[in-house]
Amino acid sequence: MKYLLWAILIISSFVLQARLSILGVSPDLSILLVYYAGIKYGEKKGMLTGVLIGALEDSMSLSIFGPNLLSKGIIGFFSALFVTGSLFRWTPFLGMIAVLFLTFLDNSIVFLSLSLFDKAPAAISNALFISLMQSILNAPAGILIRPKDAD
């Protein structure tokens, strides 16, 4: 049942993000799922969820297989460390900053991987604009997605 729910969530996030757009930029809802898995289930399961979602995104993209797998895996791993690890104690503000930072990190890893191993997918200024917009669009979700032991 849990896996079915996750499958529905993943497909819904793909469908929704293909339909939503603000200033020509779609929010990256799949990052939010990976972030949620990371802070709820810890670094290992967060990373594995990220790898799975990233692999699906890579299979559907028209470029090389790997950039999203790597970036989402790293996001899943870091979201557990960043928010529930010994470094920080979760607050709504930190949650927002974490999502903002992790979304930007995800985009940066994908952009760098594509630029290094395939073709640069956009001009740097454009990539920066898209990454910033996506980070800002995703950030408010960091207030709502909270760890189990949050107050």
Partner: protein, 260 residues
Amino acid sequence: MSKKNFFLFFLLIVVSLVLMTYQSKKGHFSSGNHLNNLLNKTSWAVKSFTDALENPFRKIALRDADNQRLRKEIEALRLEREKTQEVMLENKRLREFLQLRENQENYVATARIISRGMSHWANTLVIDKGTKDGVLKDMSVITPKGLAGKIISSAGSYSTMLSLTDINFSAAVRFQESRTEGIISGTGNRKCILKYIPYNEEVKPGDIIITSGLDSFFPAGIPVGSVSSVDSKGSGGYFQYIEVIPFQDDSKIEEVVIVK
């Protein structure tokens, strides 16, 4: 952090880098058309479902307006006028498409845009016609305004088109008046760049660009866009820096025609 988790994290980075290095040398793995197909079907189902949900709400809104007679009449008249305008606009658009279809010898299919592509980086659009309708990779996508892009992948009932403004798009073009040839490329934003026009060619804003057909991908004579700015002072390189605004804005496309 446990050693096991750190090892897994390290393994993820190594495996990803090996995968990408391998593909950069040997070529891409085959794409997941089945997954895309499933996603497109889901998109279509969600669109149908939301449309079906919205229609009754529109009717309810009209019934509520009945309670306030004067307002209702004004509202109804306004709605009627808007609907008529919408129908007139649609009628005009369809006439243009019909005209386009009759004019194009290599007509393949007329398609509707159903969603944006999955990649956030690429300017791609998904259309509701695929291999079943004869739509194949590398076919041209046009609208009554001009060139819109090309098909980059095609599955049963869906295809993905690469927009004219995408950084990976390029096409052989020429000026409509002077007949000088060049290559147009997308930039990732609204404008395109016209390349390989030497400094001795006189180019001015407003000049019209059409496809030349020399790349054997796009039929000749399709309007592409007009020159918006020219740097002909020789600030660098051997060619002029020319920006072109496409006639077809890819954020406003609803229907397209696919031609061979």
